[in-house]
Amino acid sequence: MIFESKIHGDIQYEEKDIITFNKGLLGFDNLKKFFLVDLVEMEPFKLLHSLENHDIGMIVISPYDFFKDYEIKLNDSTVKNLDIKSENEVKVINTVTLNSDPKKITTNLQGPIIINNSNSLGQQIIVDNLKYQIRQPLVKE
């Protein structure tokens, strides 16, 4: 199937690529379907695009590509909501906020997005850990 994105042109996707966020993203309860797009030649960045809105998407990263020690604990309700049976099913991604100054490009380590690869359910959680920042610069000075 082809999705016409205002951000990235026509994107090929398949049914299995669709991630369902039953609660939406925080502040965007109405956006429940997204898909993850590989950005060729911009690895390791990916685009998490809304399937319900042609203008809405977010750049995301795997935190482990930038912050090797990143660690979060999933609470019981997340495990239940996403029907997680094993940690091998879990994918973690973090949103990136762009800026024309590379030093001001940040990622949100306090609001990671958790995806269960087995059933394609996703949920954004909040990590209440002072070690992690909502606006963590990606590039070290």
Partner: protein
């Protein structure tokens, strides 16, 4: 919204298993004790607001060319 008045040391219940106690009142701040089941997440509201705001920022002005800059600096 339900508004109730409680004195220091007094509690109230939300449902059968969430208990909120006013433990200290001082200088315009209230210290609150919460007993709740493990699967209930309890977070300061500012944190929700901050993450909501940051989601909005992350959706604004997505210019993929900006990612090329970050590669160059690496």
């Amino acid at each position: 919204m339900l508004i109730i008045t409680r004195k220091k040391g007094e509690s109230f219940m939300i449902g059968d298993d969430i208990e909120i106690t006013v433990s200290k009142i001082e200088d315009g701040s209230v210290k609150i004790g919460i007993i709740a089941p493990k699967d209930i997440s309890i977070l300061r509201k500012e944190l929700y607001k901050d993450v909501e705001e940051e989601n909005k920022h992350a959706m604004d002005n997505i210019d993929l060319n900006l990612l090329k800059n970050i590669k160059k600096t690496k």
